[in-house]
Amino acid sequence: MKSLKLKAEMESLSPLLEFIRDQAVEKQINPDEIQEVELACEEILVNVIQYAYSEDGGDVEIRVPDRKDGFFEIEITDSGEHFDFLSLPNPDTDSPLKDRISGGLGIHLARQMMDEVSYQRAGGFNKVNLIKKTEAV
């Protein structure tokens, strides 16, 4: 298991995504899949950065378990407010332009890019698990 913990702020987004990218490259995941994983993680991380903490701030941690079963898994953990943004409704992607709202698009993208995105609140932590079946072995 490899992990990286940084302050939950926009400046951390790039190094956090780089860490995920490095792990994916190490596991020989193909570039298109890496980009999808990266996008899903970016959307979750941005939500954590923007909404998990009040003005005092806090950390966000990424863990990548060492799976060898053809699945790439990422855990994103914070100790902020209990907030399950995955429970929010998906945006209506069929509505006409005038009715479109921008909220919820990020989480919708994250769900579509991965095979599984789940949320758990445990021990004062929010934990989002993202899993993607990959072609890598």
């Binding site: 298109d32 980009q35 945006p91 209506d92 069929d94 332009l97 479109r100 921008s102 993208l109």
Partner: protein, 97 residues
Amino acid sequence: MVEIREEEGKIMCVFSGRMDTVNTGEVEKELAEKLVPKEQSVEFKLDEVDYVASSFLRLCLKYAKAGGKTRFKITGVSPNVKKVFKIAGFDKIMTIE
């Protein structure tokens, strides 16, 4: 990350690089300062872009709402970027080439 120019009566916004949350925040500021669509058409040219996050989708939605399907279009979209627009259902409400 974005070059704005007038071409044949329309405003071209030529993007380059990753349109992630951080970069999109920067270009959004630049567009807000320099881009006044008025009656002109606006084109977002994405030939040099291979990654877009939801923040960029929101930016597109903002200009699509301002210009409608006839005065706003997105061109030069790579397969990976097209997939993201499609998941958001933007292919039904915007001109994407």
